[in-house]
Amino acid sequence: MTAAAIEFQNVTKVYRRVFREEQVTALSCVSFAAGAGEVCAFLGPNGAGKTTAISLLMGFHFADSGEIRVLGCAPGDVDAKEKIGFLPENFAFYKYLTAPKLLQLHLALAGNQSAEAAARIPELLAKVRLNGYEEMKIGKYSRGMVQRLGLAQAFLGDPQLLILDEPTSGLDPAGRKEILELLVALKAQGKTVFLSSHILPEVEQICDRIVIIDRGRLLREGRLQEMLNLGDRVEIVADRITEEIEQAAAAGGAVVERGAHGVRIVLDAARKREMAEALWSAGCDVVSVNPVKSSLEEVFLKVVEHREAGA
């Protein structure tokens, strides 16, 4: 992995209620890293601790133990924040401002009031398809427009690291596609993107690295391709297959599908050799034997279900 843009080392965060003994462990000894230039997806069911982790990363909350580094700095460090674009979950705004005014405010907060930066505001608004709404107060924006504006303010100032909490939330399919294309373009520019999302097929399209947490614990971390290839099932494509073999395979738990190029049998990797030998013995042509590549959604569900079964 390239130099880490984000590093969590044994991070624990416990929420305590004042005057009550109630405690909620939001994160427990979580360790992971996201390399510079990577798109890293931070996944987990609702209440997994994703937003808490992002809040710790931004310096909004403080960890009880462990260490966090963002672009080599402590969370909340002004030097690091100068290079970060952040989109909070359910982006909130000053309703009385217009989009250009809000972006100007954010430029001022970033300490950048150059004419060049201000001139980029219309371009940025066009990029998130908010051009034509410059005079409208943000309070009158739809949920999707607000989300687009949130993304525009995150992209403001050409940040080195983007931390996006549910970036496609509230967007229609076309809007989601556009945002994904924007993220792909940012990735091509070498930016680091750390995002949380529940829409896994989209995440799968753009991510290099996956971090899965649930109930405050890290369940899986690694490169996307490695995770998807971890499938424990294989696909055998055979021709001239007999009815008896087909029925025997189905009875053994395999999934059998007839297609134009032969019969596709999907079964546990452990039974691969046994099935291949049976096919050869029966005089069938074995066209190919390949591992079944799981989708991110399948990997995610398997990891989370496994955790629940073990809990």
Binding site: H61, V78, Y94, K95, Y96, A108, G150
Partner: protein, 266 residues
Amino acid sequence: MKIRAIALNTFAGFLHNKLILLFLAIFLAILGLFSSPLLVMKGMSGPAAAQMDSTVLTLVGLMMTMVSGFGSLLAAWAAADTVAGEMKSGTILAVMARPVRRWEFLLGKYLGVQLLMAIYVLFMFGFSYLLTWMGGAHIQTTPWVLIAYPLVRYAIYSAISMFLVTMMHPVLAVGLVLLISIQAAMVQPGSHPPAYLPGPLRTIVYTLLPSTELLSESRFLTITQASLQKITWDVHAITLGYGLDYALVCFLLAVWSFRRRSLSRD
């Protein structure tokens, strides 16, 4: 630049805050209601006018006390609401994601409140002159006193409120500020009702709480007596210095308390 941006945005927020605007409208309506008898009385002439003079001046004094008291409440509420409102709505997250230090955020908010209060004081200043003119009297003290003293007093109340709101709900914070101001008035020497605290404790409380009596511009307004109070520059400097110091300490306490505060949508 960052602090200025936060301060101006805070002030813009006040101008769009429906609750503050509603209170101001109600307050202005009450003032209008109170001042209408003055207009009627100003039209009187002869012996009737002379008889009404003391009534008019009493009314003007009462109204200025109201305006001044409302300003204290406004300062406390504005300071509490502007910080709590950012937390409640979640707008603070996008702001603090920028390279803004926590003290810079609080200072920007505080200066935004002071800007609001400066405009309020100017309104109060103009209004006090208008009322005294309507009542047929005139203010005999120097104008800067009527501006500087309430500004310092409001700076104290807003700093206390900002400190409290970093730890508690804004309504509770404003309630506590009110309680503090009432206590401060009750423990000052020669206050009415008479002392309800034992002597040493009363002295401690008097020392700890902001001395509102010292910082009251009504000491100089003297509408009812129309007499100029002779106060030297060094006394002004010490009194205002005390007030600014009190506000600074409270603001630094707010910064210290906010330093490790979890920032999240409440």
